[in-house]
Symmetry: none
Subunit: 198 residues, 2 copies
DNA sequence: ACATCTATTTATAATTT
DNA sequence: TAAATTATAAATAGATG
């Protein structure tokens, strides 16, 4: 969230990494602090930096929250074997259910992802909608296509400027008509491939 | 951070408290997620809600980070102990991690779903991809557009057949060129609206 | 390497639906 | 009552000193 959004992968540059970590870590703790105050929640945060240093936040304290976390399920000092077995069964059951849910969620995610790939590769997205369109929708689509064409033309211009040996005239869509193939030299392409969809 | 900054004290109103907690808690986890990814930090967050519910975030996992924390402090780990107690801790740890994984999977699913909605409603799909397209992709898109145009022409033909008083000739796209407005009588439409995007 | 500034993006309190 | 919207505040990537 700044001048632009950075890619969500580990920063290579060590200096930049340090700056970012130093800026973001206190903000995370502050956000947790506000949440704990405003909502009365008990929060603990443990952060191991890329260099192995431990930073921690706790409200009311790190140890109290971590202890609560550990105790809530683990260490009943006076508990019968039966209670333990029951607890194990309970947890195991929950575990099985969770694994099932997770598998389902992953399946759904995969399904959607696949379909999305199809959409991206332009395999099926133009089929369904049109059948259901009335004249009004078709006209609306026209507006979309105007924008689309402008973007494509712009992009084509950029690519032409990059590849063409001689300066090429800008492609235009007004009036609507055929765009002639350009006879300028371009690597790995013959002019016929430049008719596109105009 | 909204219409105005709220006072830094616990919210009285129970409904508002619930809303605020529900909004802020995922944001905190997301911020931690970004920090862990971008900086390669190991992070665990434990949150006990005002109602006693436990929410947790962990990267790479809650238990691994908490274990690391405990080991550094020379205390017994969450997942190491004997017999029943050990088994309970182990299962519980897996449970916590599963809940986290599930939450992450659901978030991803939601993201994709939202994007899919945009695609379906045709609000943005023609904007983003083009910038990243090379000549090869543009050519692939050309093929898509060929099919698309055929479908649109077919559909337009159907609608014309439905509305035209006199039979109209089929629109064609070969060769690529301007489709003339048809002068046949059609209800609620003037010929100019029929230039569409050809 | 560090501190400050600034243009953007993100978060969110209040509002509307 | 919950979900979407809006107006404002906070966070932050990159620029600048």
């Amino acid at each position: 969230m700044g001048r632009r959004r950075i890619e969500m992968k580990k920063i290579d540059n060590e200096n930049y990494l340090h700056v970012t970590f130093s800026k973001r870590r206190p903000v995370l703790f502050n956000m947790a602090s506000e949440l704990s105050i405003v909502c009365g929640a008990e929060i603990a945060i443990l952060v191991f930096s890329p260099w192995g240093n431990l930073y921690s936040f706790g409200s009311p304290s790190v140890t109290s929250v971590v202890d609560k976390f550990l105790n809530q399920h683990g260490q009943p000092s006076v508990a019968t074997s039966a209670t333990h077995r029951a607890r194990i069964n309970e947890l195991y059951g929950q575990n099985v259910d969770l694994v099932n849910d997770l598998e389902k969620a992953k399946e759904r995610s995969e399904e959607v992802k696949k379909w999305l790939e199809e959409v991206k590769q332009g395999e099926a997205w133009w089929e369904a909608p049109i059948q259901d369109m009335g004249l009004l929708e078709l006209q609306r689509l026209e507006v979309c296509m105007e924008v689309f064409k402008k973007n494509v033309v712009k992009r084509a211009d950029e690519l032409l400027a990059k590849y063409a040996v001689v300066p090429s005239p800008s492609l235009t869509m007004n009036p609507v008509g055929v765009v002639e193939p350009l006879a300028t030299a371009r690597p790995n392409l013959n002019p016929k491939e430049w008719r596109l969809w105009f």
